[in-house]
């Protein structure tokens, strides 16, 4: 910002790319004046998003979500655990978020990204506190066995709005999840049943759980916005995030209740009006994402 004065006489003869690198803030502010962004989006428009279900064959539920270039792969693996004594009829969900070195030039092997555990915590807070998943549904036999759903979200390409994409892929993976059919054998161990030998075993094993889907009480979607001066930019790219540092992430559930409003600092203060604008943008975005997810689910069912 301090160099803005010096740029005055230079910028006339500079190429756009050089100007973008040298004076990123001025570059973006010029665009904002025209109410447009470097990728030709209007300020309030989110990037094109896609969801593909069942991307990982070896998982019980999986989904790949893309928002612009940002790509997330989420997969759920179901394992069996002994439930804790406080909640003997509940299963458990363990959520983790990974940023492997392939996703960004700033992540190196052996040195995990600083934001990865924070996004993992946010995901897990949003999903558990919203009551999206009924943990009782994950119970197998009270006090003996319950499902532990391991959800791992991998960032394959990091280009801004990581939490939004991670949440989208996580929600999609849960809506794709098929809890495997299992029975409990003589030793009390839970074993899977493949479809063909299911009939023959019916008589032998006492408890059998059918292959089933998980019911989701509500569905969560989120939108990250940048606040810069008077402008609100929806769904920022990595470049925009690095130049303008005030971010607000709003998470809403399907009945428009607020699950999280997350603004970690930033030079711009958010006033009630801006907060309401962000929430309104998120409401709009929820409808878009709901449509995208529904289409992905119906595509899956046709196949």
């Amino acid at each position: 910002m301090g160099s803005s004065g010096a740029s005055g006489n230079l910028e006339g003869e500079m190429e756009v790319d050089a100007f973008r690198r040298l004076f990123p803030l001025r570059f973006h502010e010029r665009h904002l004046l025209e109410s447009i962004r470097p990728d030709a989006r209007p300020l309030e428009r989110a990037r094109e998003s896609t969801v593909a279900l069942g991307a990982v064959a070896s998982a019980d539920g999986s989904a790949m979500a893309k928002i612009g270039h940002t790509t997330m792969l989420a997969a759920i693996k179901m394992e069996v655990m002994t439930p804790s004594s406080e909640s003997p009829d509940e299963g458990c969900v363990a959520i983790d978020f990974h940023m492997p070195p392939i996703c960004s030039p700033f992540v190196r092997p052996g040195r995990p990204a600083e934001v990865a555990p924070v996004i993992a915590k946010q995901l897990s807070d949003a999903i558990t506190s919203s009551g999206m998943i009924n943990l009782k549904e994950l119970s197998l036999t009270t006090g003996k066995a319950a499902w532990m759903a391991y959800l791992d979200v991998y960032c394959l390409d990091a280009d801004g709005a990581l939490f939004d994409a991670a949440l989208l892929s996580a929600v999609a993976a849960f809506s794709h999840l098929q809890i495997p059919a299992v029975s409990i054998n003589e030793d009390g161990r839970v074993v899977t049943m493949s479809r063909e030998d299911g009939d023959g075993k019916l008589a032998n094993d006492p408890v059998i759980k059918e292959r089933r889907k998980l019911t989701l009480n509500c569905i969560l979607f989120s939108l990250t916005c940048i606040l810069h001066k008077k402008y609100i930019l929806a769904d920022p790219t990595a470049e925009e995030e690095s130049v303008m540092e005030t971010h607000v992430t709003v998470v809403l559930d399907s009945s428009s209740r607020l699950v999280s409003l997350y603004k970690p600092g930033g030079p711009v203060l958010a006033y009630a009006s801006a907060v309401q604008d962000c929430i309104a943008l998120t409401r709009h975005r929820v409808k878009e994402l709901q449509k995208i997810l529904n289409e992905a689910i119906s595509d899956m069912e046709v196949d």
Partner: protein, 243 residues
């Protein structure tokens, strides 16, 4: 609709605040902040020369180290560190000491609810103690919502667990100004109503959130006054107290 709180407070009542500064000899700035039984110790070292790789050397950088009372540093602590760092960065004037690093260490002495707001208040007092240039102060408050939708301020740990939802809000302090009333207003709102940081937990309606914001403003003005008085008490090291 009155709510019975275990410690007999009213809904809007904060726990007793206490702040003492300059309590550590080696640190360049330090403060101890308590809200009831929640106590956090903050120490500031620096500015030291140089910034870490991937940080902008044209600005001062701030690092935050969170030390939990017991146990290891996990994801929750990493999240606290990030929120604190972003929050403190937004109140510091980063262009004055470029290419330096200021480190803020927070030691949790006791956690009885509203831990993060308490830590933010402690860190802010410690930054002032170290003389780090600040745009303004930050005051943090925890608001919680009961099942019936009423707002309870500064919940203890027990209350936090029972609440439907709670949120941590950080606002600028209310400043004294020579400027005519209203000149610092943005969109018709005074500057101290702007949210620096907002972290929520639990599901609530949007109206509930906005309601909490208002109550948070009122409470933050009180904390802000307390912080000003505590900073003004000339006798350094003499703890100031407020009920």
């Amino acid at each position: 609709m009155e709510i019975d709180r275990p410690d007999g407070r009213t809904q809007n009542q904060l726990r007793p605040l206490a702040c003492s500064r300059n309590i550590l000899n080696r640190a360049h700035g330090s403060a101890r902040w308590s809200q009831g039984d929640t106590i956090v110790l903050a120490a500031v070292y620096g500015p030291k020369a140089g910034t870490k790789k991937n940080e902008n050397p044209e600005k001062a950088s701030i690092e935050v180290i969170w030390k939990p009372k017991t146990g290891q540093v996990g994801k929750a602590e990493k999240e606290y560190e990030l929120i604190l760092r972003r929050t403190l960065q937004s109140i510091c004037v980063l262009t004055i000491n470029p290419n330096t690093t200021t480190s803020v260490t927070l030691q949790v002495v006791n956690d009885d609810g509203s831990l993060l707001p308490c830590a933010i208040n402690a860190a802010c007092a410690a930054l002032v103690d170290a003389g780090i240039p600040l745009k303004h102060l930050a005051v943090a408050i925890c608001c919680s919502l009961t099942g019936s939708g009423s707002v309870v301020l500064d919940p203890s740990k027990l209350e936090e667990q029972k609440m439907e939802a709670f949120m941590y809000l950080v606002f600028p302090n209310s400043v004294h100004s020579v400027l005519p009333e209203g000149s610092l207003h943005v969109d018709g709102e005074p500057m101290e109503h702007g949210i620096i940081t907002s972290v929520t937990h639990g599901v609530m309606s949007v109206d509930d959130y906005l309601h909490c914001l208002e109550r948070g403003h009122a409470a933050s003005a009180r904390i802000s006054d307390f912080l000003r008085r505590s900073l003004q008490s000339q006798a350094l090291g003499n703890p100031s107290k407020a009920a």
